[in-house]
């Protein structure tokens, strides 16, 4: 007995070739095997990302093989069977042979009445079972004919059971399609594709379209080509998700437990496919032109409609072709991908706009699309699987693709931002937040992974995608951020001193691991990202300790080398500290985004961000900037002294001097951007902290019952991952309470009032502080934010500023609503 029902394409396929014996005991067994294959596949696929780094396409090596074959190999089953499994297989085959010889055909005897008679002898509540089988096992059984548990009842309602059955009975439309039917098929299957990309099961979404089961048997050319294109697209998507290696089970189902049998014959290659899609597009536009000209002659409304519909179809084929070209080129790691991609995206966006402006299908037309049966694969899925995914995206498919094309643009331009880690993380935190689909998140990881590789790999694929060695990347990042003297370009002459060179390499190596984890974090979904951030903090803490020790060591060495003026203090340290603080802040922001915190907890979450993390980050960035400047100056002076000492020609020195000065002035430091962003966030958090604190003092925020509540406990729970850290030191709840009381009491002392926190003065003081911070945030915002984010944050600043100033005047209102509808991190306040 197998608890793992399901089915596999190859299983059902193989059984069709064998003569059916009527004996099906092996079913559970086969299904179990199928499950194991599925696991193999997942494990094998998990290492898939390497292919790109080595410059091999998933189809590049063997040329452009038949897509359908890949589809079935990829989705259906793997080939690696462990030895143990092979042994089991032989054993099983032997048993199977004996069994089948014993009872080839069943010999049924009716025991219906007998059984009732025998059962009546049992006591009430007595269960008669095989050994080791209890009531609890029986409870897990599926109750047949129960509407909620038994999907067998639903299966009877299927209009078409399979492609073959539909074809034989004529219930599946095969030819003479109308333009509107083509449109409906496309629209509905694209909606299904989106559902799959968004995490539903493949068998219940894309493969509810029966034409996909046997595309080679579909006589209609447009539908056939469309089917192959869709299969190719599915394969590209699946491959990207596997290679990106950031999707979780809840984001995307890479493998499907069950797929309808399909043949791999006659699948066109990618190039041939693009050609046939192109010819379909031409056919459609020819039809559109024909109807347009006949409309001009006859002025029949039907001709006009037909022309619009064919035109819409041609646009959809063009869209499909562009999408295939884009993903095909991406999947094959084409050399020209990054050069071609912007034009392809332009074309994609233009086509989508035309589609959105063109002919629209009605709800009935959408539902009446031929060749769809939502329950067609249900019998292949486990009995406990959710019933079916309703096609709910009707008409919205191209809105999804519009958003997708925006995201693709971000992915494509990411490679140019991979100069320094700070710069890239800044890009990910600003533009990158738009990547809300698992597909684009995976693509981003692929671009990162394929652009940055460990040094040993870069030799294998020289020139491919302009690989940068990760250690060079880290060194560049450090140079740009805090300019450590030991990494300066002219420092090489001192490297033979002692162990310095080895130490530098050791530090860079230890940075690679944590950097790759940090970069990967941004590909994960929010919940996983939060967990991963908390986990990687431990490594970052250790790295920070190392960095400080290295800084001390290098400082001592610099003094020994008599390189006066060069200072290594905080050079490595501030870089690691910024990475760490960013990770800590992102941990809390992720919590806000996931809506984990109650309104009554927000004040200390924002306080920790404001007073501890972001405050420290602002200081660190400023310190790094000044260190960069000072070290550069000191280096120049040293250089000049050296030159003078060597009695070199003065002319060349002057020239060099002038150029260095000029370049340092003309190129604005990236710190300005990081600092502006950190300050904006810092003031935002401060503003919200003061506002929420004052609201709490005024009891305008609902708090848990005091007798059941322990804020201290919640404080430690929310900030748990930070507790092991001493720089920046973890701030205890007691200290936070002191800060709060100082704020309230300070004012009390000034005014001479005897009341504490709840006094009107300390409340209005907090509101005014909040208002000040909102204004500051707005001021810093313009320096770095752009587009939609700038507009939203600015709107939030202004709106909240007004509200807190109203509250500061002591105006009476019942309560204040806190809504995270505009921004996931910062709420908008409104009076009730």
């Amino acid at each position: 007995m197998s608890p793992f029902p399901g089915g596999f394409s190859d299983l059902s396929g193989s059984s069709q070739q064998k003569p059916y014996t009527g004996h099906t005991l092996d079913w559970g067994r086969r299904v179990q095997k199928g499950m194991r294959w599925c696991c193999h596949l997942t494990l094998r696929c998990s290492g898939g990302g390497d292919n790109w780094a080595n410059g091999r396409g998933f189809r590049g090596e063997r040329g452009e093989k038949a897509l359908a074959e890949k589809m079935m190999n990829g989705f259906g089953h793997g080939h690696n069977m462990e030895e143990e499994e092979v042994e089991e297989e032989e054993d099983y085959a032997e048993r199977r042979r004996l069994e089948s010889s014993a009872h080839h055909i069943y010999n049924w005897k009716n025991v219906h009445q007998d059984l009732h008679g025998w059962a009546s002898e049992l006591d009430v509540g007595e269960l008669i079972t095989i050994p080791n089988f209890s009531l609890y096992d029986a409870m897990s059984a599926i109750e047949l004919c129960d509407v909620k548990m038994d999907i067998g009842l639903l299966l009877k309602d299927r209009k078409i059971k399979s492609f073959e059955e539909g074809m034989e009975r004529g219930s599946l439309k095969m030819d003479n399609f109308l333009a509107v039917e083509y449109l409906a098929v496309m629209e509905r299957s694209l909606a299904n594709l989106i559902l799959w990309i968004e995490g539903h099961c493949l068998a219940q979404t894309v493969f509810t379209m029966l034409y996909l089961h046997k595309p080679q048997q579909v006589p209609d050319e447009l539908i056939r080509t469309y089917c192959w294109s869709l299969l190719a697209l599915c394969e590209y998507v699946r491959q990207i998700m596997l290679d990106g290696y950031v999707v979780e089970e809840e984001d995307f189902q890479v493998t499907s437990l069950a797929l309808p049998p399909s043949s791999n014959a006659d699948a066109p290659t990618a190039a041939a496919l693009l050609k046939s899609v192109k010819s379909c597009e031409e056919t459609s536009s020819k039809q559109a032109r024909k109807h347009r000209s006949s409309f001009k002659e006859t002025s029949l409304a039907d001709d006009d409609l037909q022309s619009q519909q064919w035109n819409a179809l041609a646009m959809r084929f063009r869209f499909l072709r562009t999408l295939l070209q884009f993903f095909g080129s991406f999947a094959l790691r084409s050399e020209s991908f990054f050069a071609e991609a912007p034009q392809l995206i332009d074309l994609l966006e233009a086509t989508i706009e035309k589609i959105l402006a063109g002919y629209k299908l009605s709800e009935e037309q959408f539902r009446a699309a031929p060749g769809f049966e939502s329950l067609v694969n249900l019998h292949l899925l486990p009995p406990s699987f959710p019933r079916h995914t309703p096609a709910t995206v009707d008409g919205k498919s191209f809105d999804f693709f519009r958003s997708l094309s925006h995201q693709l643009r971000i992915v494509v331009s990411a490679r140019d931002r991979l100069k320094t880690i700070e710069g890239f993380l800044f890009y990910l935190r600003t533009d990158g937040v738009l990547l809300d689909s698992a597909l684009t998140r995976s693509m981003m990881q692929i671009v990162i992974g394929a652009s940055l590789v460990l040094k040993r790999c870069s030799g294998d694929a020289p020139g491919k995608w302009e690989l940068i060695s990760t250690s060079d990347f880290i060194a560049d990042s450090l140079r740009a951020f805090s300019n450590p003297p030991v990494l300066m370009s002219g420092f090489a002459q001192y490297e033979h001193h002692g162990q310095m060179k080895e130490y530098i390499e050791t530090f860079l190596r230890s940075c690679i691991a944590s950097t790759s984890v940090v970069l990967r974090n941004y590909g994960l979904n929010k919940a996983r990202q939060r967990d991963s951030l908390a986990a990687c903090l431990v490594d970052l803490f250790a790295l920070q300790d190392d960095a400080e020790k290295f800084d001390e060591y290098f400082n001592a060495q610099l003094a020994e080398l008599k390189l006066t003026g060069l200072n290594h203090t905080f050079c490595f340290g501030s870089w690691t500290l910024t990475t760490m603080l960013n990770a800590m802040a992102d941990f809390l922001f992720c919590g806000l985004e996931l809506q984990l915190y109650a309104n009554s907890e927000l004040h200390f979450v924002y306080w920790y961000l404001y007073d501890v993390l972001l405050h420290c980050e602002v200081q660190t960035i400023s310190r790094a900037e000044s260190a960069t400047r000072e070290n550069e100056l000191a280096w120049q002076i040293l250089h000049e002294v050296n030159l003078r000492g060597n009695k070199k020609a003065g002319g060349s020195k002057k020239k060099q001097n002038g150029r260095t000065k000029g370049s340092s002035e003309s190129v604005p430091r990236p710190h300005v951007l990081y600092l502006a962003r950190a300050q904006t966030l810092h003031h935002f958090c401060g503003a919200l902290h003061y506002a929420l604190l004052a609201l709490q003092w005024q009891e305008k925020i609902k708090r848990p019952d005091q007798s059941l509540d322990c804020e201290e406990f919640r404080y430690y729970h929310r900030l748990m991952p930070f507790q092991e850290r001493n720089a920046p030191a973890f701030v205890d709840y007691e200290q936070y309470q002191q800060v709060k009381s100082v704020m309230a009491r300070n004012h009390v002392l000034f005014v001479g009032s005897s009341s504490g926190e709840n006094s009107l003065d300390s409340v209005s003081d907090a509101y005014l502080k909040s208002s000040f911070n909102f204004q500051q945030a707005d001021r810093h915002l313009v320096l770095w934010a752009k587009g939609g984010e700038k507009a939203i944050l600015s709107k939030l600043c202004k709106r909240n500023d007004v509200i807190v100033r109203i509250l500061a005047t002591g105006r009476n209102c019942k309560a204040v609503a806190i809504n995270f509808d505009l921004h996931p991190w910062f709420p908008s306040l409104s009076l009730l």
Partner: protein, 123 residues
């Protein structure tokens, strides 16, 4: 440790099967009882049963368990849409695993005699 474990299980058993309640969820307690009907049922255990449901579906599975109300539990069950599908042998069954059929949804129950013959033949 073993003693403690035994005590734990003993107490857990008491909670799960309170004294005085006649429901014997523990198969071992029922195993002791014997009557012609019980023996006949025990003979059918592990044999293939074909249950025809009121909506004509055919369920084939290994007989595991039953009770006074003739609720039948089958293991490794397969479902055919109708008798013709089963007899035709061309349609793959749907694998549903462990299932329970109750009396009111059962139209007919068959047992596979062939298996018995094979077993007896082997003896």
């Amino acid at each position: 440790m073993d003693q403690q474990e035994d005590q734990f299980y003993a107490s857990a058993d008491e909670i799960l099967h309170p004294v005085g309640v006649t429901t014997s969820t523990n198969p071992s307690s029922a195993a002791g009882k014997s009557s012609p009907g019980r023996d006949a049922i025990r003979k059918l255990f592990h044999r293939e049963l074909k249950v025809v449901l009121v909506d004509d579906r055919v369920i084939i599975g290994s007989f595991f368990c039953t009770d006074r109300d003739c609720n039948i539990v089958l293991g490794g069950a397969r479902e055919y849409e109708n008798e013709a599908d089963f007899a035709g042998g061309k349609v793959e069954p749907r694998f549903i695993g462990l299932v329970m059929v109750n009396k009111k949804n059962t139209k007919a129950v068959f047992v596979d005699e062939k298996a018995e013959d094979a077993v007896e033949g082997a003896k």
